[in-house]
Symmetry: C2
Subunit: 349 residues, 2 copies
Amino acid sequence: MKKRTTLKELAKELDVSISTVSKALKNSPEISQDTIDKVKAFAKLLNYRPNNIALSLKNKKTKTIGIIIPDIVHHFFTKVIKGVENYANAKGYNVIVGLSNESFSNEVINMEMLANGSIDGFIVSMSRETMQHQDYQHFNETLNEGIPLVMFDRIVNEIPCDKVAVDDTKGAQMAVKTLLNKGAKKIALITTKDYVSVGRLRTKGYIEALNANGITPIPELILKIDDDLLYEDSLENLESQIKMLFAQHHDVDGIFAVNELYAVVAMKVAKSLGISIPEQLQVIGFTDGMLSKHASPSLSTVSQHGESMGQKAAELLIQRIDEYTSEKPPQPFNSVIITTDLILRESTK
Amino acid sequence: MKKRTTLKELAKELDVSISTVSKALKNSPEISQDTIDKVKAFAKLLNYRPNNIALSLKNKKTKTIGIIIPDIVHHFFTKVIKGVENYANAKGYNVIVGLSNESFSNEVINMEMLANGSIDGFIVSMSRETMQHQDYQHFNETLNEGIPLVMFDRIVNEIPCDKVAVDDTKGAQMAVKTLLNKGAKKIALITTKDYVSVGRLRTKGYIEALNANGITPIPELILKIDDDLLYEDSLENLESQIKMLFAQHHDVDGIFAVNELYAVVAMKVAKSLGISIPEQLQVIGFTDGMLSKHASPSLSTVSQHGESMGQKAAELLIQRIDEYTSEKPPQPFNSVIITTDLILRESTK
DNA sequence: ATGAAAGCGCTAACAG
DNA sequence: CTGTTAGCGCTTTCAT
């Protein structure tokens, strides 16, 4: 277990000063080619590699970014992380992942832990609790301390920062419109409670699409699911609500669900009731994940392009980090919208 | 954008020395209660929080651990990360995630990047390429530099470190035995190429279970899929292979697949051929993910307990980190086996 | 009870 | 061309 070599050691062995070694390794023109060669050869021999931590302390930059998400067991967030990693690594950044588990306090604690010098900036999707409490103080504090922040997916206007959002409303509109075009007359919506921004926006899209087609939305056809479904125990609740919907409205022939799980569960319930898909009932979900692809019938869905979101978020963040450190004039904040695509599969005609 | 307060600033404002402030904040008995109070009050006022980087440099501990995985868009790894995060955070550690994308060089680069002081230890599941090349030099180097390493899931004996593995062979045995008990006579296996350790071990379990029941394994019933299926484009290849299997062996009445995707695809093909599940064909997969739960019929599966694996890995790693820094006598390496559970659902009788 | 000083590993302004 | 020095923020030993 040999210890990591330091500049000091190299210097001592070569009998030159530390700064000479430091400069030589950077090909400084101040140093003679001769010593440069000697130093480099020796450094390679001892397998010298600079200590990141020391560099961070010196440069006041850690070259790592923190991403805070509500849950990692979730295809969409996973895609986003992948996008962030790809872009960040290419730029020489590492990525620290913090999980809030949908809890406000976890989110705060995680961010505070990282804000104490561990990271150069944050990429965040708010926890459900934070959205409910509408307490954004920790975000604003972070920003005040000069740590840039990019929010994605679960966005809120109150926070002055860069944002990357999905075009939730448009995506939902498109889905519902497609359902209508394909002959659906009575389309139900399975969505979240309104405090979830993406649920709210997708609900908006649903209503707008109906209105645009001269259809008055029927409140009874809108299921606002209470529990965030990532928490798997609430599935039964969902199933029974959907059963009730079918019981009361035999003629529902279309369903738009704001995530793929709701959609898949709806299909399952429908099948168990002997309703055939897509003949009697067409279904479109949101988020293009594993479930959609491998459900049977496979699920038509609005694709969110999580990986692109992650990339874009990382890009905005690193740009902002550069701006801060180079003391450039501050640029206005960006709000990037990632457009959605409709992927048609077997659950629609 | 106010800057972070430092000890120095506090000291200047309070007109005491830096070391006094430092000690006061730690309730050092060397400092009078009076100054302690004063310092603390002022520190709180200015919202002082210590700089992690400076601490890391001083202590030579970063309080962060690096986890390197082949792919994050994968339920199992995601569960493991969650387990690692939970345990690590509780112990005051952060988690840096590195993705190898199943590539050897990415794995090496990622580890080198982090090994330069950014982390106190690694938790790793090898990339597919690494398993193929059987080049473990980077792991050994890391260990030589005194950075502890815990491997999980994709394990290899050649590396002297702590390990957390799934009981792949037993899990597979149990699955096949269950299939037999439930009346299956001719059981096919869908597995990976042998260089994937977990695939190899599960194949072993399959063969052992058959042998134990006096059945001679038929090579034709063993499909060794070439491409790692996480790469989604190779699905068609899989489907056609499965079709061929059914064409040549009408009487296959059981399938054991080494992951849930293979199993779900097999069910899909079977259904498309009019084979009813579980009546004519019973299926068991491996890994208890979203797909298994929400497939229709829902998939019986061997659960790997990814979250427990992550927790255990983090526990072993942090223990090892403590050992290293406290210069305790080295303990022998642990190999923890996480036992599997069989979850019976609709795809078996 | 308080402070000065060294040092963690590295960089860079300044001197020679 | 090479070396000295100060400093990043903090801890800790050793004076005082």
